[in-house]
Assembly symmetry: C2
Homo-oligomer: 415 residues x 2
Amino acid sequence: MDDTPRMRSMDVLTAEPRRGRAAARPAGRLDRWVLAQMRRRLQGIPLRVSLWDGTSTRLSDTPEVAEVFVKDRRTLLALVRDPAVAFGDAYAGGRLEVRGDLLRLLEAVYAHWQGTPAGHRVEQPRREPSDRERARANIHYHYDLGNDFYRLWLDEQLVYTCAYFPTPGTSLEEAQTAKFEHVCRKLRLRPGDTVVEAGCGWGAFALHMARHYGVTVRAYNISREQIRFARARARAEGLDGRVEFVEDDYRNVRGSCDVFVSVGMLEHVGRENYRAFAEVIDRCLAPSGRGLLHFIGRDRPRALNAWIRKRIFPGAYPPTLAEVAREVLEPVSLSVVDVENLRLHYALTLRHWRARFEAAKGRVAEMFDESFVRAWRLYLAGSEAGFTTGYLQLFQVTFARAAADTAWTRAELYR
Amino acid sequence: MDDTPRMRSMDVLTAEPRRGRAAARPAGRLDRWVLAQMRRRLQGIPLRVSLWDGTSTRLSDTPEVAEVFVKDRRTLLALVRDPAVAFGDAYAGGRLEVRGDLLRLLEAVYAHWQGTPAGHRVEQPRREPSDRERARANIHYHYDLGNDFYRLWLDEQLVYTCAYFPTPGTSLEEAQTAKFEHVCRKLRLRPGDTVVEAGCGWGAFALHMARHYGVTVRAYNISREQIRFARARARAEGLDGRVEFVEDDYRNVRGSCDVFVSVGMLEHVGRENYRAFAEVIDRCLAPSGRGLLHFIGRDRPRALNAWIRKRIFPGAYPPTLAEVAREVLEPVSLSVVDVENLRLHYALTLRHWRARFEAAKGRVAEMFDESFVRAWRLYLAGSEAGFTTGYLQLFQVTFARAAADTAWTRAELYR
């Protein structure tokens, strides 16, 4: 099995020529004017912004949580033009440094956006085409970075979605298994059930369902590296007779099933495909079927942070609960049975990942380079901040056909 | 305290002159043609339709659950023109009889509507004006029928919303208290919290919160009879210092609160007022506030059954989850924390109410008349059938500000 990481770097981020002379020159009137503009826009964030020559301003009267040190004028101007992308690229490229607590800085920024009334309107979600070829390219971009890379900082089962921590002290390993159990209970799996899993990562959940619930699973994924890994796992466990890993797009899911489950894929589907996604569920799901969608969501429609969309997750869009209810479930008359918001669990999951990532950063730098390490640090910390502040949500939506045998209460989830 | 029931009858339903001769005349070609039309439209419902002269047809090859006996041509024609309203009016007015199991008949009809693809489009929700005067008139129409009337068939605390049955064998009395507990736990009430309740019925829940959780409550209702009853209750229990019952529209809710809760009111708000409702919540709710909306809902947008809207609940509209998320919560950036669908609990609640109602039907007929008894029988059975078949849903939506201290898991709801 070939899972050698391709040595892809974030070197686009440092490819721009450095203008040494500009950086050395003291900040002038223009720079100070730009800084004042920035101060006005970000007023209230407990942050200090400093320029290459020591010019410095605080954005708030409250004690600052961190200092953003901008190393050259080009970066300063870029920050004003396109703050999200420029901040990420400059941080990754080393043209901007964060001195102090990166997480608290990002939390302060998200909390600021949450709090401003303008925040209700500022970002409009972009609809990007997401045909099958592009979907494959988008998924390849992120998920085929090499299994060895993910092995450095995910749990031992390689689960790259929000875990469920019965208590905050639960280990990441236990919490990923607890998430599987929580979802299986929500789905009321019974021996003999047929399950379709759309977007199965490295296959851990599909294998868990087959191993512990006596169900058969067809699990779909368009990431070649993940599917190859998952198949090898199924064979090694002797579960390949009960779990079929299919390297294909969710739109090609065929056959029927009692249960339809998708953990961490809907973010990558794109709103323009929700109707197609709904029709796949409707086509497959038995008259007494039920299912669950687990996805990163929002409180109101907004595009994903532009830098994350550009450099980390091309094509991703975290929907609101209303969008999923209206565009996926309503058109095919599926009932919402239960919704649970687990955003604090995703924040804690990310905290674990980030700690492991930092511990492995030397290895990551060897596999890629320093700019890659910084970009991923920013992505992990930014995601954690998104969940702690409520800028991002994590929804588990359990749904069912009207004729499904749903649970009388949710008490059995907690026994 | 004056809570004498006004002797309002459903006599509008029998006010049309009977055409004795038409009813006596044997069914002719026209009648049989109409019956064939009806058969085609309702094909597959396990039901027999019979006319005044014995002409009879089955709508399905499967054994019928009931027979609808149409007593005259006028009623037959009305059934084709406006089935929902005509069926209800004719049933209440005695111009149509159901022989067999009324509940199973209604379930078969709802299941049929659910199953037909056309069902996705047939009914468009009507937007009706719902200004304050009309709101008051609408609420008066249903809720001011006299406390003595409701006392005949509700539980001893007079709770006229879906109960929560920890097990199906729980009594109605216990299940209403269990519902209060379930909601209080979802709201994480703490001593000293201030609570606003929008739409408080006869006040039982407001009093429960104050009695058991040490909170202070301002509870709003525009039903005069209910508010008077609730105030007397608060005084009798010595809770009038901690629970204030305000006879006013939810739009006039003032002041601030830690918790905003509304059980069984949103159905009466009307979609055109969701934004105003959202702004009331946003205006009142503390920065760390949370709340809960408990309401009858739908899987997809559809008007309420026309007869129910006309004769039982003027102005009512049960929204979809997406409508509530998008039109109430999103505009004011409230996070959905938890959604629970309790439709089977409402079916069981209605089964209890219906049994008590049938046991008290002699008293009800004395208070009103036989047509009123039949109309309410149809309304209660129809609602039960709506919930058993999934034609209606019951959603409890817990929401919170981003800064609220939400529960780590839902386990504490089940301890």
